[in-house]
Point group: C2
Chain length 101, copies 2
């Protein structure tokens, strides 16, 4: 799975707000929509995008749908920036050494 969908999903403030609400633990759509300045269907649509991006998981509990973070997807994003960080520092070091020469 590429990062494409994940980056796009997290770029929208409202959607990222939904995502960050899940840090506190699994929650239903209704609970997630509370306090947000958009309608419940809007939250549903954001959750679909997050799910398709591999950032959240969904399962049913009775009449409710419970969403939670997908740690696998989250790990991908963390690793992306960890690697990017390392590479950037390496390139920086090399550029300094090039100036010394």
């Amino acid at each position: 799975m590429t990062y494409e969908l994940k980056f796009e999903a997290l770029a929208v403030p409202t959607r990222r707000a939904v995502f960050e609400k899940l840090r506190a633990g699994p929650a239903s759509v209704g609970v997630l929509a509370e306090g947000l300045p958009v309608s419940r269907p809007a939250v549903s649509q954001h959750l679909k995008v997050l799910k398709d991006a591999g950032l959240v998981l969904e399962h049913r509990e009775g009449v409710k749908r419970i969403y939670r973070l997908d740690t696998e997807g989250l790990r991908e994003m963390r690793d992306y920036f960890d690697r990017f960080w390392d590479t950037a520092l390496d390139a920086y070091k090399r550029s300094l050494e090039a100036k010394d020469a």
Copy 2:
């Protein structure tokens, strides 16, 4: 500085391509535009967004403008996901303990 602009900046494929090209080290606009499927002005516009987001730095060398990664901004993004990761694992542990009880 919030994450808002950074997330938005990295969400666009072409713009992220420009960003990732800078992993190899500083480069001019013309060099960055090579191989990309958009015009040079488009790359300029993307660089402005990345710069405003605090993800790249710019300085002049003669008639050229050299762009390079802003390690400070990059570090912010890395830290965001590192913390998110830790919090998510904590919440997961607590949810398991809650089930045991």
